[in-house]
Amino acid sequence: MNMVNIKINGMPLSVPAGTTILEAAREFGIEIPTLCHMKDLNEIGACRICVVEVKGARSLVASCVYPVNEGMEVFTNTPRVLNARKKTLELILSTHDRKCLSCSRSGKCELQTLCHELGVEDEGKYDGDRKVYTLDTSAAHMVRDNNKCILCRRCVAACRQQFVGVIGPNNRGFETTIGCAFEKDLAETACIHCGQCIVSCPTGALAERDDTDKVFAALADPEKHVIVQTAPSIRATLGECFDMPVGTNVEGKMVAALRRLGFDKVFDTDFAADLTIMEEANEFVDRVKNGGKLPLITSCSPGWVKFCEMYHPDLLENVSSCKSPQQMFGAVIKTWYAEVNGIDPKNIVSVSVMPCTAKKFEIDRDDQSAAGVPDVDISITTRELARMIEKASIKFTKLPDEQFDNPLGESTGASVIFGATGGVMEAALRTAVETITGKELEDVNFAAVRGTAPIKEATLNVGGMDVKVAVASGASAAHALLTRVKNGEQFHFIEIMGCPGGCVNGGGQPHQPASVRSFEDLKALRAAALYNDDASKGIRKSHENPMIKKIYAEYFEKPGSHKAHEILHTSYVDRSKDYAK
């Protein structure tokens, strides 16, 4: 590697050529502050927070985009640099709605943190004209508040990375706002509700729609039987909201916290993930044996499903008719569970904790109410659960580890990996291969579909037949893979997740500042917690889950039965004409 010698604050350092000053300083233990920068995604050098002094340079330079060169001398903390950064913050604040006390991002806001660190004393120093924007609350999953937008364009980059690109800068200069084409509301566009813009936003300008009050109200209602389910990935991420290291599995504390919040039953979406595998593997085997439409494409991710409905409606027949695990779980609660326990489904409030903002859209979709009432009543994100725990004064890190309630708390290693890209495919293969061959798998690990690559492919020999599978995560990767399918490439089974890396990197997951998102592999660290959990489980195949066996024996009869279809499957609509793309 070609190395260059530079000095940072007088100390010599040797770094690879092509490194930016920002990256070099990081090696050196100095984390130069940034606001607009996101590595590989938004490297536009626009916000000027990361400026440093370079000896001989005419002006301060933006370290996030300025490459090092031989003999360069950099100064990162001179009064000139610190004053420039402070002034930039003061100017940003001059048009910023500074209601920090009531802001959902308070404490996790990158702008607020920088103002504190750089010693901004007068937030109103440059007060002058300020535009007042109305909130965009049109979409089911989020609220856009341009009064808190600092025009960093990280959300724009995230949205375009997702192939969707429905938000971007409109107008010019002082009039610039981030918005949709022709100033339409988000709900009128081809937004897929993935929430990647929210986790990219440094401030409180973009936030999920907060549904926590609805949950508190349900919990306080003595007439209601309130049940909660938690998605596979929540246990791998919730700890981050309480300053625990990325990738800490907090399943036990999460269950304990939910019980202390007052839920009547604390169940695990993992059970429904196993159920999904039973239905989906059956659907796959059926399509293979009976010449059905292939490739079969998974349907767990509501962001992906909406993307398909908007951008690839001609492939909707390929999408599995299985409801997502969230919806299957809700449907089982309102049918089987209600019957067995003699509870009127109308008196059950079914709450889900999801890594996902699109789940808020999914609960209101058509054909998602098996018992004539919605399968899931309220869907909250990981962040909202953390907010509830804080509001209820529950000291999360001090909680004991507790177990999910039975019977719907029982799950397998196959289900827990649903939270990572490739997990659904691996879980499905464990069941489908054994179903087709009738023989027990020697090794349940399918390494070829693991990892955070946007597209993964493998060809497996199953009972003498070559089965070609592919996994895509992120809507752009999905689009690329589907384009290949349309061009005639043959696949049998495809897993698609709407967010890059799958649910562990979902739009409802804990905020991490750009400094972490740019330089740590969040997707891999969080996924590792799930794969470790899988490896430690006694039962690692969905069809071996004893509760799954029981529910088929007592209620659904067999996968793909008439009853299973009525309760556990759904339908899709072509939305390609309805929205501005």
């Binding site: 375009r160 010019r172 949709c180 084409a181």
Partner: protein
């Protein structure tokens, strides 16, 4: 954008054919968007959502990206020009002599914002920079007619002539 205020789009098949040809010619070139938008505006006179949608679809980019460019540059217009195009000079001399008030009064009387066109297609309004008639400040033009030494009370009389 308030759609009630704008004229209905009445592009012809010939215009669309021309537009598609322009897009096809420019498509392969990197950074072709602005040139294509300029030519599209030559064809239609403005860039309504229908035209921008075709450009976005054919180039395989989000509509917002086209709209973002259209609203960034003053040369692009989202609205058609009226039968009578009113330009109010907001150059320094005119501005200090009260051209801003005249511009406001016109917006109020016509019921449109600067850059827009009345629903009947009769008047469009825009601000312009110095037209070299500072001696007559404040100045406005209606097509080729020049009106100078105005006060805001003259506005109604001028509109009545058309």
């Amino acid at each position: 954008m308030d759609e009630k205020k704008s004229l209905p789009f009445n592009g012809t098949p010939e215009q669309e054919k021309q537009l598609l040809q322009v897009i096809n010619e420019g498509k392969t070139e990197k950074g072709a968007l602005m040139a294509i938008m300029q030519k599209a505006q030559d064809i239609y006179g403005y860039l309504p959502i229908e035209v921008q949608t075709i450009i976005a679809r054919e180039l395989g980019i989000p509509l917002q990206e086209v709209y973002g460019v259209a609203t960034f540059y003053a040369q692009f217009s989202l609205y058609p020009k009226g039968e009578y195009k009113i330009s109010v000079c907001l150059g320094t001399a005119c501005y200090v002599k009260g051209a801003g008030d005249i511009y406001d009064k016109l917006q109020e009387k016509l019921g449109i914002a600067g850059g827009e066109c009345t629903p009947d297609g009769k008047f469009s309004l825009e601000a312009c920079r110095c037209i070299g008639a500072c001696g007559l400040a404040p100045v406005l033009t209606v097509n080729e007619d020049v009106y100078g030494r105005l006060t805001k009370d003259d506005v109604e009389g001028i509109l009545a002539k058309y």
